[in-house]
């Protein structure tokens, strides 16, 4: 089947009336020979053209531009691939282990502090109520029904406070951020100072003097619980409500392929904004596919590799910096003058690739539709078939998978997605689609378009460490024009912020009776 497409490719090219230099240059894959150097008589091309790598579509290897002047050019472009970098993976995992210990330590500490503070807050009012009974029970005036009413209110308010604190603060941590969370620290300090000041007052005025007005003490405890509830309200506003109103529009661009999305964020610190953006990244951005970047890298390398500048003044020249600058300018000028036909090649290459993809996609769709007709759901009313015929979804998937496997594999190879889907995951997905009565088109949807990163197996997004690179402090708030970069191992996300402008709206009243019309068929103009 491959030869079919190749044959049609040849006929497609020869049928076109291009210049004679095209014949013999187009071959099956992108194996090009550079004969254009000989045509450019005005360029400063000196060296022989480099050999192009044969980009076979049988596997994704790490590609390297094999350049004849390999040792002399300063940049060697290597792409990252998902399979062959075992060394990098090991380094990454060890870094993960090391840093996770540090993070756990910090999380442990924060949790301990939170629990201690919570216990302090919870038991303080109870202590205020109980201590007089323990220390001077005989002096205490018995309090009547008003007191008992206050006891009930203290109990319920404490219960509400307990639930509210549990709801707001004791949630599983979503992420480990580089710096501390400023608002939480502020609130913890506030609560601590508050409780300490209440204790001071209590110990000085009540314990020392052994006050006998128990109702006053109970009211004091109630006022503490009220104030704690208000502090909790402050916490809700500061931590949750303040950033809900959108204030900034952030533009997130992936550095490798330029995928861009825009999000609306409220007033957040840079690290919290970065966290929100990363969570959106996992849900919105299509998965990063390094195999798709190889073509542009090879083009860029080819463009620069054709020029070589010789330094005729000798190496020990004191004006070396000026020479380097003029060298690069000479290279740029020569490259501009050179009659480059790489745009032509790109155009035809892309057209050819698109044709190939569409052809394989058509074959795939037909194969899958055919495969799905081989099985059908067994109805309950049907006479029971032999146990050997009845299959569960997994077996059904395994039964029809071989008929579409080849077409699917070829399609994935052509669109360079084969490393994202393993055989096992494809069969699982097929079983899932069969169970839920999905059509072949629904089954194919996850293969025809690259989905968000979360859709793929855990090995694609687990273990991703993100580094926040920012010129401003990461606990400072977002401002108009702030820029920061979220770096991952393979790529980085560049984030720019813009403030949503202040909108001044005015109103205009239109009387419903003022809508009157006349026919405008005879207009009159004064001159």
């Amino acid at each position: 089947m491959d030869t079919e497409s190749t044959y049609s490719g040849y006929s497609h090219h020869s049928g076109r009336s291009r210049g004679s230099h095209r014949h013999g240059e187009r071959s099956r894959d992108r194996h090009k020979s550079r004969s254009k150097d000989s045509r450019s008589e005005k360029s400063v091309t000196i060296n022989s053209p480099p050999a192009e790598p044969l980009l076979g579509d049988s596997s994704v290897r790490g590609e390297q531009v094999q350049d004849d002047n390999w040792g002399e050019t300063t940049t060697a472009v290597t792409g990252t691939s998902e399979h062959s970098l075992s060394q990098e993976d090991i380094v990454r995992i060890t870094k993960d282990l090391e840093d996770s210990v540090g993070l756990d330590c910090r999380r442990y500490v924060t949790r301990t502090i939170a629990v201690i503070l919570g216990l302090l807050v919870f038991f303080t009012p109870l202590a205020f109520l109980v201590l007089p009974h323990i220390l001077w029970p005989e002096k205490l005036k018995s309090c009547g029904t008003a007191c008992e009413g206050l006891f009930i209110s203290v109990a319920f308010k404490l219960l509400i406070l307990l639930l509210a604190v549990w709801a707001l603060f004791f949630r599983p941590a979503r992420a480990g951020l580089p710096r501390v969370f400023v608002f939480r620290i502020l609130l913890a300090v506030l609560v601590f100072l508050f409780v300490v000041s209440y204790w001071l007052f209590y110990s000085v005025r009540i314990l020392d003097s052994q006050d006998d007005n128990y109702q006053g003490i109970v009211q004091y405890a109630v006022s503490l619980v009220d104030a704690l509830l208000f502090i909790h309200y402050l916490a809700v506003v500061l931590l949750e409500l303040r950033q809900l109103q959108p204030c900034f529009s952030v533009c997130v661009t992936r550095s490798t392929d330029g995928e861009t999305r825009h999000y609306n964020l409220g007033q957040l610190s840079i690290q919290r904004a970065a966290l929100a953006i990363i969570e959106h990244y996992y849900c919105d951005f299509p998965i990063h596919n390094p195999a798709l970047l190889s073509a542009s890298k090879s083009r860029a390398a080819k463009h620069l590799a054709g020029l070589k500048v010789y330094n005729v003044d000798g190496p020990g020249n004191p004006a070396a910096a000026g020479i380097a600058q003029s060298q690069s300018r000479a290279m740029i000028a020569a490259a501009a003058r050179r009659r480059d036909t790489s745009h032509n090649e790109l155009y035809y290459e892309e057209a050819e690739h698109e044709r190939r993809v569409r052809k394989r996609r058509a074959r795939l769709v037909v194969a899958v539709e055919e495969a799905f007709t081989h099985i059908k759901r067994m109805q309950e009313e049907e006479p029971k078939k032999a146990p050997g015929d009845v299959m569960d979804p997994r077996e059904a998937a395994q039964a029809i998978f071989p008929s579409m496997a080849r077409a699917l594999q070829k399609y994935l190879r052509t669109t360079k997605q084969q490393h994202c889907h393993s055989m096992e995951s494809i069969q699982q997905h097929l079983a899932f689609c069969i169970t839920n009565n999905m059509t072949p088109k629904a089954f194919l949807e996850s293969y025809l378009t690259p989905g968000p990163t979360l859709q793929y197996g855990k090995d694609h997004w687990l273990g991703r460490r993100w580094t926040l690179i920012s010129e401003a402090s990461v606990t400072s708030g977002l401002k108009d024009g702030s820029v920061f970069v979220l770096k991952c191992v393979d790529f980085s996300l560049v984030v720019t912020t813009k403030k949503i402008p202040y909108i001044q709206m005015s109103e205009e009243y239109i009387d419903p009776k003022s809508h009157k019309f006349v026919l405008r068929l005879q207009s009159e103009t004064s001159v």
Binding site: L521, Q522, S523, E524, T525, S526, V527
Partner: protein
């Protein structure tokens, strides 16, 4: 003043020369026009033939340059400075009249009373 398509139009015309008056930064002529090939000819109060799509004078500013020059309400404008006005859109007519660089417009206008005047004068002085 109806016309037969394909045949030349004949009419008795009067030549009127209007000096534009400068008012602020505009040059005005002091009258209003109506009609045009993109307008509805049935609503023209001044035309005899209700299918005539020519340009008619619909209003004259009292004391303006047009009144001084002798333009009357209901006149049909045939030419402006040599430009034909019988087969133009309303906007084209306006543009030809309000060219900034011209201080003077020379109109050829026709009206029903002209014909009668000529007939009368020919009748009074037959074969002179």
């Amino acid at each position: 003043m109806s016309f037969v398509p394909g045949q030349p139009v004949t009419a008795i015309v009067q030549r009127i020369e209007i000096q534009k008056l400068r008012q602020g930064e505009n040059l005005i002529l002091g009258f209003s026009i109506g009609g045009g090939i993109d307008q509805d000819p049935g609503q023209n109060p001044f035309s005899e033939d209700k299918s005539d799509k020519g340009i008619y004078v619909t209003r004259i500013t009292p004391g303006g340059p047009a009144e001084v020059a002798g333009l009357k309400m209901g006149d049909k404008i045939m030419q402006v400075n040599g430009w034909d006005m019988t087969m133009v859109t309303h906007d084209q007519a306006r543009k030809k009249l309000t060219k900034r660089k011209e201080d003077v417009v020379r109109l050829l206008i026709t009206r029903k009373s002209l014909e009668e005047t000529v007939k009368q004068s020919m009748g009074c002085h037959p074969k002179q």
